[in-house]
Amino acid sequence: MLYLHQIHELAPETQAAFESFVRDDWLPVVNSHDGSRFAWYGTATSVARFADEAITIVAFDDASAFDRFATAERESAASISLRDRRTSVQTRLLKPIDYDPWTAADTKIPDGPQEGEAVAYMHDFVPPVTGQMRGYIDMMRERYMALSSQELSGIVLRTSWQTVSGGGRMPEMFNLSEIRDVDALVALIAHEIPREYKEMGTWMWEALAARDQWTTRLARSATWSPVK
């Protein structure tokens, strides 16, 4: 699988019109291509860092499907319409990492909009220290994914993908974590991590060798997003 992840920066107060266009016009165009599926539409919550943006994820069965989609839509009227509705865009091409929960769960993408309740997410891009992507992947697999289901019950990792060559401005890991328990998020955000957890020799300190920069967006899926 390959995933086209785009963050569309929008003019203030145009989010609703953009969302309608994507649901009613762009999604059918994407899904008209063999091997392409519009998977996820995310939008900012009230406290998200960037208020005026929308996030889309399109899934491709393989590189051939991505090529067919790109060849057909590179200069299409629909693509131009999408472009005209935003002020700028960040594009990333991603592939799943071997422990990716989305892949492990064999996530099915419905072939159209699916009405349901919005789901809140922590949407993270993490650029590891240059040269440390493999080390960071190993750390995620061996340390984070080894945590017990009870420890992970509040904020659940749904995807763990990485940029491919030609797929972004720098090597990054993309983690999308579902917030299932608001108390877990409040505990993470509102309360300070004890100092002894951060000191030299701790797991947190060791992990900083691989990465210490990231951008978290507190986002939510649209109520019609095929995958919530």
């Binding site: 203030p12 107060e13 919550t45 009230s46 406290v47 998200a48 860092r49 960037f50 208020a51 005026d52 919005a118 789901v119 809140a120 922590m122 993490v126 904020i155 917030i179 608001v182 108390d183 998020l185 409040v186 993470l188 955000i189 509102a190 309360h191 300070e192 991590i193 100092r195 951060k198 000191e199 300190w205 900083l208 990465r211 210490d212 920069q213 990231w214 951008t215 978290t216 507190l218 939510r220 109520t223």
Partner: protein, 220 residues
């Protein structure tokens, strides 16, 4: 009152030394001048924004005090400490602002900012890039602050705008305190709803930072 807003991207392994140096060395030294005080120290919490991003606010009484502060940082008694702090960062963005007189933050003057121990608190700092006059936007925030209710998710405690006014980027910053963990919990439980108490400035582009004060921050 003027405010220097510094956005520090700190090297992860320097988090604790950076915090300690600010608390034990830099902030007390800053207060040696009657016209300057460290007003606030916040971290962007894990899960809510940029990794290892700290925001500091330094209150400055007037431009004379600003000139003294800048001299102290460059070659005076603050210079060595400031250099040490700079070395613990990847990036530093510094900007100068005017604090709106009606801001609760302005009530005690620079002497109102003192370092004490207290529980951490959660804030949001909204930067609105406005498409009309900055003064109109500040007035609109004041109106919404005065009309606020106790039941809101956040309450406004400060509003500032560029020292250079319309000569600079037209960004109006609003600092609000989350009223309680319960209010935060309720707000997160409804991800499609806007937080109550946050100013609304039609046509403005909003950039938000979720921030947590440290236990020794004067603003807490």
């Amino acid at each position: 009152m003027l405010l220097i807003q510094d956005v520090h991207i700190v090297i992860g392994r320097e988090e604790l030394p950076f915090d300690d140096t600010y608390r034990n060395v830099f902030a007390p030294l800053v207060a040696d001048d009657a016209g300057t005080r460290l007003a606030a120290f916040f971290w962007a919490p894990h899960g809510g924004g940029e990794g290892y991003e700290a925001i500091t606010l330094t209150a400055v009484a007037d431009v004379d005090a600003l000139a003294r502060h800048q001299e102290r940082l460059a070659t005076g008694d603050l210079a060595d400490c400031w250099l040490d702090l700079e070395a613990k960062q990847r990036q530093l963005q510094s900007s100068l602002h005017v604090l709106a007189d009606w801001s609760p933050l302005a009530a005690g003057g620079v002497d109102g900012f003192t370092i004490d121990e207290h529980p951490t608190a959660l804030f949001r700092l909204d930067a609105f890039t406005v498409d009309g006059p900055v003064s109109d936007a500040v007035a609109a925030v004041e109106s919404q602050h005065r009309a606020a209710t106790d039941a809101a998710t956040v309450s406004i405690i400060g509003c500032w705008s560029p020292f250079l006014g319309e000569l600079d980027e037209p960004v109006v910053s609003v600092l609000s305190r989350v009223t309680s963990d319960d209010a935060l919990r309720a707000a997160f439980a409804e991800p499609t709803e806007p937080w109550t108490g946050v100013p609304e400035l039609p046509g403005a582009r909003r950039l938000t930072r979720l921030l947590r004060s440290v236990t020794w921050s004067p603003v807490a």
